[in-house]
């Protein structure tokens, strides 16, 4: 006698018995409204550990994620935004919600940066995803000014381990806050641009943008 339910994960209304068909009609509108209210309420109750939004940019869709302390993650589409969110849930907190307003300032400053109206970011940053030597490397990257570049070896020389050139490469590749913490300004000693977490095309575009070449 038991009806077979596929799974309510599809959100399909087909699984509801005919007697209830009228009940599901306004569900999606009601849900959109409720979800919106829920996100504000969660933030108000201090339960929004990680807020995120996705913005468009000349280097593709960017995921921006922030904690109450500040921007914690900027991710390129090629990193897999879903995978990045799963990872944030595991490493920061599973209380992850789409909540654009916390990222308004970051989105605005990135817009200004891509419009060449901004050279430095003025944002609260949360570096909890970079520890130890990686954190130390990231701290030195803003020393490379807008429109300039430095080699991995030069950056290593600024740190407590001046010979750790490869580790500088790793720190850049794993930079949780690319663009804002300018790992794209670190290039190879031979002058070639080298790899980038956002892809080599993105790195070329950013360096061209900053040099004013367009």
């Amino acid at each position: 006698m038991e009806q077979h339910f596929v799974d309510s994960e599809t959100g399909s209304t087909a699984l509801v018995p005919a007697d209830f068909a009228s009940l599901t009609r306004d569900e999606s509108t009601a849900l959109d409204r409720l979800t919106e209210l829920f996100r504000s309420a969660a933030a108000g109750a201090g339960l929004l550990d990680v807020a995120y939004r996705i913005v468009d940019s000349p280097v593709g869709a960017l995921l921006l994620a922030g904690t109450e302390r500040g921007l914690v993650r900027v991710a390129f589409a090629r990193e897999g935004h879903d995978a990045v969110l799963e990872s944030l849930a595991t490493t920061v907190s599973p209380r992850v919600l789409l909540a654009p307003s916390r990222l308004d300032a970051a989105a605005r400053e990135l817009d200004e940066y891509f419009a060449r109206q901004r050279q430095d970011f003025d944002l609260a940053l949360d570096f909890q995803l970079a520890a130890g030597f990686r954190r130390e490397v990231l701290a030195h990257l803003p020393d490379i000014g807008y429109g300039h570049t430095a080699s991995y070896a030069t950056v290593a020389a600024l740190t407590s381990s001046p010979r750790a050139v490869r580790a500088v490469g790793t720190a850049c590749a794993r930079n949780p806050l690319p663009l804002v913490v300018p790992c794209h300004r670190v290039i190879r000693s031979d002058g070639s641009q080298g790899a980038y977490v956002g892809g080599v095309e993105a790195k070329a575009l950013l360096l061209a943008l900053e040099s004013g070449a367009q």
């Binding site: 569900e27 409720l34 990872s87």
Partner: protein
Amino acid sequence: MSAAVKTGSGAGSAGSGAPAGDSLPPFESIVATHGATILRVCRGLVGPHNADDVWQETFLAALRVYPSTAGVLNREAWLVTIARNKAVDHHRRTARVPEPVESVGDGPLGVGDAVVRSVEAAEEAELVWTALALLPPTQREAVVYHHLAGLRYAAVAELLGNSEAAARRAAADGMKSLRAHLGQNRKEDS
């Protein structure tokens, strides 16, 4: 050069693959996956006019404890349990069941008009909610958990604190009374 290595995430060790066995997905996906079902449950338990508040309370309570619930296997049953508790709180606060809708039709409605059709759909829904609210509590819950939320009878029995057979019977009796109520109302209306 190691900079060429693409890492899945800022955390490094977690990588970009599937989450580890006991890791929790972002809460956003819990809302997206189960929001609709829980809304039906809330409407079924407290009626459509109070369901929004109970839904909010349910998801806020779920979010609050979420980080410590990695052991939960049936996420939907977990949420339904919270919704049930919130519905009980609601009934305790208001100490009454949802009011039946006030007079459904004044005057005959036109035909073919989209507005009229949507009004009729809303009225139809109100009839169902009203009929649900008239059921004895156990039947009402059994119908909501099984037929609206899609929970298996074993999970329904766990919520109701009875046996699977009793849960099945309560749902069947509930559906029978519901259809009787609805048939009556529809006849009266037309």
